[in-house]
Every structure is written in C-alpha cells, then in structure tokens.
C-alpha cells in the first residue's frame, strides 16, 4: 500500500508545487495588456500570415490599438473582421477602409507606342533589363504579366497591354507589389478613394509624346482638391489616402484623366 502511495504522492506533489508556482507567477508577473488591443487580437483571424505587413496578428493588433494605422489591412479577415474591428475601434465602417492592390499605370496599347521590337523572354523582369522595356514610357507597365503569374487569387489580369486589378478578388497579399520590376503596383483603399494611374517621373510635353494618359505635372489636381489630399512628388501627383474623401473633383480637373474613383 505504502509503495503505491509514495510515488503517487511524489508525482501529485510535484504537480501541485508547479501548479502553485505558475498560478502565483501568472498573477504577480502579469504584464498589463491594453484591453482594446486584446479585443482587437481576439477579432483577428490569428493566421499570422503577415499580409497586413505587420509581424503577425499581434503586431497588427498593437498598431491598431495605438492608432498608428487606421486602415483595414487584414486580407484573410474579409468583411466580417472589418465590421468587428470598426466596432471595437469606434469607427464608421465606411471610413475603415478595405484595401486592395492597384496598378498605377494606364498605359495600354491605345495610349502608348513601342520604342523598339523586343524579342526575348516574355517576362517583365527580363524585358525591364533592356533599356527599361519596349514601350515608349520607361516607367509604365510592361504587360508581360509577372504580377499575373504570382497572384494566387486570379485578381490581376493584363488587358490591352496593361495590368488591371479586380478589387473584388484581391486580398491585398502584396505578392504582385513585390513581383513588379517597375514597382508601380501599390496597396490602396478600395472604396470612396481617388487612385492615381500614372507613375511617370517625366513632365509636360515629354510625357504627352510617350503616353496619352500620363501625368504631365500641371498641378491642377493639387489646386482643385478640397481636402488638400494630393501633393506632387517631383512632376507626379500622389494621393494621400488618409485625407481623400472620394469626392471626385480631381477626376474632373485632370486634363489627362489620370484619376479614377472606386
């Protein structure tokens, strides 16, 4: 009897000792966690995929709780997570913007011309090495579909020589952003936002020669925007998505039709 009792007591004793130590430690050494951050973390899917650009769901929850980001960047979350997060963060669901990829170029076959005949591997990365590609504008989309090849959601297609993103299918995983050798794909909010479809660093008449849909750097959009959401980076207009309300004034003031409202 005793020979059974002793080992039972030893094992239970060790278990009990550790139980007590851990319970005490859990209380004494508790790290104060922001309740809001905990609630946000609960609402997130917990896949730790990194599509949001933060180190896992914990990282994104921390950034949201601290207010350093106000965009809905969680791709796997979808509408359900977006509504829950908007509720926790006390934001109107409309202003908690869903994001998707956007190709900042409108240089289709109709807008541009060839500067040379390219005979080589049908890949943007390869074509980009030969004098920045066969198209007239050196900054624009090459249209060989490197982005299409990496997209696992079938969300980006090359239509008429320029890549176009289907915002419904896009989950903003940003694989196309990394794949584009010209780095002209960006993640932008999907609804009620103006998105600017040109990446040309040239200005004025030079741009007009190369592409009929390019930004000429006239700054009409900057002056007409009621929110002051557009600024010039050199000779190229860029939208500040935090300030943009999607009013559409820029689409009317731009002579080259560079803006589109989603």
């Amino acid at each position: 009897m005793i020979s059974i009792l002793i080992p039972v007591c030893i094992v239970s004793g060790v278990g009990a000792v550790f139980g007590v130590i851990l319970s005490v430690a859990a209380v004494l050494l508790e790290v104060p966690v922001d309740k809001k951050q905990e609630a946000i973390r609960e609402a997130l899917p917990g896949a730790n995929c990194g599509a949001c650009g933060y180190p896992g769901c914990d990282g994104y929850a921390e950034a949201l709780a601290q207010g350093s980001v106000t965009a809905m960047l969680c791709a796997p979350g979808g509408q359900a997570v977006r509504t829950k997060l908007a509720e926790i963060l006390d934001l109107d669901v409309g202003s908690f913007k869903q994001v998707s990829a956007f190709v900042q170029c409108a240089g289709s076959y109709y807008n541009t011309s060839n500067k040379m005949r390219y005979v080589g591997e049908s890949s943007c990365a390869y074509a980009n090495q030969i004098f920045a590609g066969p198209w007239s504008c050196p900054y624009g989309c090459l249209g060989y579909g490197d982005c299409m090849a990496v997209c696992e959601y079938d969300a980006i297609q090359v239509m008429d020589g320029v890549a176009v993103v289907d915002a419904e299918k896009c989950v903003a995983c940003a694989k196309c952003v990394a794949a584009c050798p010209k780095s002209i794909i960006a993640i932008a909010p999907t609804d009620h936002t103006a998105r600017m479809a040109c990446s040309s660093k040239d200005r004025g008449a030079q741009v007009k020669q190369l592409c009929t849909a390019g930004c000429i750097g006239c700054t009409k959009c900057v002056k007409s925007c009621p929110e002051g959401a557009i600024h010039m980076v050199g000779a190229l207009a860029r939208v500040d998505y935090e300030k943009c309300t999607g009013c559409g004034t820029c689409t009317q003031s731009c002579p080259q039709n560079c803006f589109e409202i989603s």
């Binding site: 002793i6 030893i10 094992v11 060790v14 278990g15 130590i21 851990l22 050494l29 790290v31």
Partner: protein
C-alpha cells in the same frame, strides 16, 4: 579536461541529437526554412535543455534513485520540464520583453519536445556523464549540436529552393530525403570521440 572535450565532441558531432539520435525532428523540419528562425529556435532549445537538466538531474539522482522510484522518471521529467518552460516564458514576458518577442513563440513549441526530454533522460545512460557539472555540459553540447544541425539544414533547404526538383518530390519528400542525406553525412564523425584520446 579530456572528459570535457569528449562530451563536447560526442554531443555536437558523433551523437548529434537530431541527426544521429533522431530526436526533435518536428522543429528540425518545421523551423529550418529560414536561417534567423532556425537560430532563434536552437538558442531557445539549448536554454531549455540546460535549465531542464539543472532541475531534473538532482531530482533523479537524489530523490528518485535512493527511493528506487526511477520508473517515475519519464512522467516526472515531463511535468518538471513543462512547468519550468511555462515559468520561464512568464518571467521573460515580464522582465525581458525584447527577448520574449524574439524567442517567446518557440517556447511553447519546445515544452514537450522529445529532444529536450531525450537529453534529460539520456544523461543517465551515458558513460561519460558522471557528475552534475558534466551533465550540464552534456546538455549544452546537445543544444549546440541542435544548433549546428539546424543551421546546416537551413542552408541545405535554401539551396533546394533554386534546384529543379521533379514534381513528385517537391515539398516534403525532397526535404526528408535531404534530411536523410545530411544525417548520413554526420556518420563520417563516427569513432571521433573514442579515437581522440587513445
């Protein structure tokens, strides 16, 4: 001194815990894709191995053995190791947050890792390990061997990325084959520890 070198060589090379003893294959295959996660995991494993030995060796030698209760060692060691690792995680989170952020995610993974349990149990069947300090050294050597295996395999897997692998073997099959070949290569160290000091 001879014993120190023998233990180090056998722990790291000849009797490598992952490649010779086939313990801890889960983290070996799971975390060796990137070099920095591999190193982080190995450091966490080494730390837990030494800490576990620190508590379990005296427990076995001075409590279980005298009372001829050595059959309890498996369950007690698991209990102790699991409790210890949890405690370490809580302490790290409170006092050294940056370290917790770097290593913290691996600690629950290695709580019941067979490599850690293996190290603590195999001290007692190893002829070279006769005293407590030597046991700690053996645990350290085991951890360093784990680190070596992980780093080498992370490199191998990096090379595999750029290779033209047949469709049927892509993914896990080629990884397992590569692991087997790496393990085979470590066979070359056999007899090194014994032959060193005559």
């Amino acid at each position: 001194m001879q014993m120190v070198i023998t233990i180090l060589i056998s722990g790291i090379l000849t009797d490598n815990f992952v490649l010779a003893k086939f313990l801890g294959i889960c983290p070996f295959l799971g975390v060796s894709k990137k070099l920095d996660t591999a190193v982080g995991m190995s450091v966490a494993v080494t730390f837990v191995m030494v800490l576990a030995t620190l508590v379990t060796y005296p427990l076995y030698k001075y409590v279980l053995l005298p009372k001829s209760l050595d059959y309890l060692q498996t369950i007690l060691f698991i209990l102790v190791i699991a409790g210890l690792v949890q405690l370490v995680e809580v302490v790290l989170k409170r006092f050294i947050p940056p370290l917790h952020r770097a290593l913290g995610i691996y600690l629950p993974l290695i709580t019941t890792n067979c490599a850690v349990l293996g190290v603590t149990l195999l001290h007692f069947t190893n002829a070279n390990v006769s005293t407590f300090p030597l046991a700690l050294l053996n645990a350290l050597a085991g951890g360093l061997g784990f680190l070596l295996a992980m780093v080498i395999f992370a490199g191998v897997r990096g090379r595999l990325e750029t290779c033209d692998i047949p469709k049927a073997l892509q993914g896990l099959p080629i990884t397992l084959i590569a692991a087997a070949l790496t393990s085979l290569s470590f066979l070359g160290f056999a007899g090194l520890a014994d032959g060193l000091f005559g």
